[in-house]
Amino acid sequence: MRGQGFIFWLVAAAFLIGMFALTLGVRNEYPFFAGYVILQFIVLATAWNILGGYAGYVNFGTSAFFGVGVYIAIMLFKAFNLPIVVQIAGAALVGGVLGLGVGFLTLRMQGIFFSIATIALTIIIETFITNWKFVGGAAGIQLQRPPVTAPFESYVKMLFFVQAALVVIAVAVARYIQNSWIGRGLQALRDDELAAECTGVPTLKLKLIACCLSGALMSAAGAPQAMYLQFANPESAFNLNYSVSALAMALIGGTGHWIGPILGAILLGVTQQLLTVTISSEVNVLILGVMLVLFVVGAPSGLIGLVARRVKRGGGR
């Protein structure tokens, strides 16, 4: 276990150093612009999996948390001109509190009722933001990026690195949960909540932890979005496409292990970036939907399930 932990942190450090080196070495802006989106989806899918994969509560409200992150960042920037790191921290804080609220919903709602409630939350928050003039209302808001600080030479490259750091944080959190008593407890309540409660698993506490962390990470992933696009409006910030993407990426990658959502997000994220450039953005949602349906029907354990089966078969020969 300890050896594995060492390797994990070594890989994480190598990943961050590699990303940082890229921002220094590559002049072209475009790879960072595209790479940012893929990193963002790794964070979202990993965060979704903490609640959806480990605890079995299907959250359709990824876009609610994402949008809250976007708008908290805008508020902090517009009102107090705070730097990006503080914006992200603020967004994570509010996302975590919102997550706690969603966690209390799980007391009375399970299965599809919980999922529908999270969509409801998305639309309600979106409607409030739409009617709030300070952050631009329905028309949206234009933002001017502040000057970038050294060592980064452009704002997009800095955001890219910030998002890479969020990836490391999200994956580390997911990995910690999976390997600790929290993960085992969540797994128990996913299989049978009543039985888990009866044998002394503190189900509410575990669900609250999972919802809070998941929500905080989703909002943190959304916070840099406003600066990335230099524009935000409620319709795009709260778009249900974020919900379906996070869910699809986690399910396609495999929900049982923290590596699953990463694989799913990379596979779908790269495909989407290629398709958006070559065909159209509608087609990439179509591919996402079709792959989601194919995987839930044909490969219930996702990519990691397929790989595991292949390995097992190979070992048998």
């Binding site: 079995g56 299907v58 999922s115 409630a117 639309i123 929900t255 996402l288 349906v293």
Partner: protein
Amino acid sequence: MFSLDLLRDAVVLGLLLGCFYAAVSIGLSVSFGLLDVPHVAHPAFLVLASYGVYVLNEYGIDPLLAGLMLTPVFFVIGLGTYWIYYETFEKRGQDQAVRGIAFFFGIAFIIEVLIILALGVDQRSVSAEYIGKSWRIWDMRIPMRLIVAFGVAILLIFLLTQYLSRTFTGWAIRAVAQDEGALRLMGANPFKIKRWAFGIATAVLGMAGALLIIVAPVEPTLDRAYIGRTFCVVVMAGLGSMSGTLAAAIILGVSESIVLTLFGASWAPAISFTLLLVVLAVRPQGLFGR
């Protein structure tokens, strides 16, 4: 600023609107309320039906007739959907619930994108004699399209309620909702009954889709708003209660119409979802639940 006249108008319009909401939700009341299928794609099928009606209307077919023509097509789609759902999720047991929900969510998105690819993101509407005219009672003007939708909706709900309470198949459907195991012991096949019921629930969408596009223009992503409306109605009604569906839909319609008059259209999308959340939190078994 706010007068009794305005309130009266809002209530009357809300009542008509409510019956229309009942018509678009009654299918879900069967598939989700009675059969426990997490049918998040119900509103997407509804919008698909509307686009079907739009395409047929382009050839000069009356929207209501077009809706009727689509009914058998949607019946078959319903049979197929339930068959896939049963084979891949229901048969394998409880731990498939997460994937079942994701499955229907994926289907909804696929339908949305296919409509966008085929017909674009623009709003579409149909033309017929009764669309655009209005009916005067005293000093009120009621749009004819709402009255047509109201009449057809009432007829639709009446027929479906009669079917479920008077016919042998209807009894079987309600029996399978109550106790599937007992039905199996009686020598009946629950899968066949549920597949048939799901087919009926989807077939109704042919007509409901026609009403949807008669009442207002449709766009491909309209299903997102109707997730709130249809699930709000079905949950508020108490799962599977047909008369409850009508009452709950009227409550929703009147509340929407009053809030719209008071605060403006930008608050409209939140109403159904707020009502839904309140019902789920306070009275999850619904107002008229079993």
